[in-house]
Amino acid sequence: MDIAVLVKQVPDTYSERKLRDDGTLDRAAADAVIDEIDSRGVEIALQLTEQHGGEVTVVTMGPDRATETLRKALAMGAHQAVHVVDDGLAGSDALQTSAALAAALKTLTFDLVITGNEASDGKSGTVPAMLAERLGLPSVSSARAVSVDGSTLSAEKIVDGGYAEVTASLPAVLSVSEKIAEPRYPNFKGIMAAKKKPLTTLGIAELGLENTGGAAAPCQVVSSSPKPPREAGQKVTDDGTGGSQLAAFLAAERLI
């Protein structure tokens, strides 16, 4: 089975993340990395193709340097990569991103599309469902386990208070939770091999996209402002009375 995995390059959550004055992400402010959730998507795709055969294509939309993220996924073992890149795509919202990614996916053959359940920068968590709707496919979100039997996808999906067992027929869109799998580390051989694997770039013209970019986005940022950071309050060292001092603080704050 052939699998397309969406991978996004995001600011490293270990560094400080910033917005520019126009409300768009300041991509220079933090190190850019493959979103951890997407590396889990690549991992489960590799496991599924190791079991069932087929190839893994990783797909990203982002500026030039997002190629680094594709190379990382190729080094893990993905077979080829597609980079949707065009200056005219800058500032896209979720609806526009899903249109571009859906158009790119239509240039491929696949039995399954795997995404993360939520990007760590945008946190919208809506791109997977938008893609499924655009592609006319069934979808499962927040999977913690998945298996494929013939043309049937079975998954355990995290729900409030537990999980649900669900099935859908392939092709389908699957978004994974962080419980799906631990991503493998690329080894030296993988990193060398990644340099030679095919990487296709696609732009607005090739994909036939309209109404692209921030100015045409259905969602417009009106204003944005940083919040002052929290300040540290009182700190005491427990000498046997720490619990009582804490209780006294909570009582003074009328919290107990």
Partner: protein, 318 residues
Amino acid sequence: MSEVLVLVEHAEGAVRTITGELLTAARRLGSPAAVVVGVPGTTDSLRADLTALGAEKIYAAESDDVGKYLVTPQVAALAAAAQGASPAAILLPNTVDGKDIGGRLAVRLGSGLIADAVDLDAEGVATQSIFGGSYTVQTKVTTPAPIVLLRQNAISAEPQAGAGEVTALEFSVDPATATTVTAVHVEPAGDRPELAGAQTVVSGGRGVGSAEQFAVVEDLADALGAAVGASRAAVDSGYYPQQFQVGQTGTTVSPQLYVALGISGAIQHRAGMQTSKTIVAVNKDPDAPIFEIADFGVVGDLFDVAPKLSEEVKARKA
């Protein structure tokens, strides 16, 4: 006045709290219209509550298919209601299902979507709190029928009775895009409040040391009437189930009081709790980053401090 559609969250014949919050936000923009998607009979059991919370109209989208399929019945029902009503906005809870329903609906209706809004004003401008609360962003949708996913517990419900007029709504699920639910395994929620909406949260981290020792966290939570949370390290170590994870990739909480026990305060944990009104922490390490954001910190062993605090809380209550 234009209708504002609200997807009703309900479970076991009862309306969930977020529904009241959504109806309150809807009233700022137009006439609140609750959309009930459920098996036949559901609307009858919810009608009184929805009316009291502010629904002027109640769409009854009932079918035996609901519950058999993931989200596509809700998408079909909301699309049908939107086609008839040309709503000023469509409001959904910012939950996993809400995102799936909203995402599909946005494409189907060509509507812009705002996820994880913490406020919504009469002009349809939504407020978002991003990067773990370090930025506030105001966003507006330029297309008709904007879809807004509202974070739970972000605005308070102000019930104000509506007319509660019930209208049946026809819809059908396209089998080509349907995902079938074959089994659901959920633990009963018990007496503790739901994590995302709780007024008080007591969380344990890797410092708690084992699943058994999480009883210390639970005891304090019960003394405070709080929900229990956990860090990702505690979840990964198998001390506590994943659904209780607080942080960037877990639940975002914003309670009146957050108690962190044996949690270092990594940036990804802080992202899910630093907008809490008051934060207190117990940690053995005086340099733990959690102290940078704690209003009151105790440097000490959580197994000494937490039980003493529980006792004091119980004593004050008695």
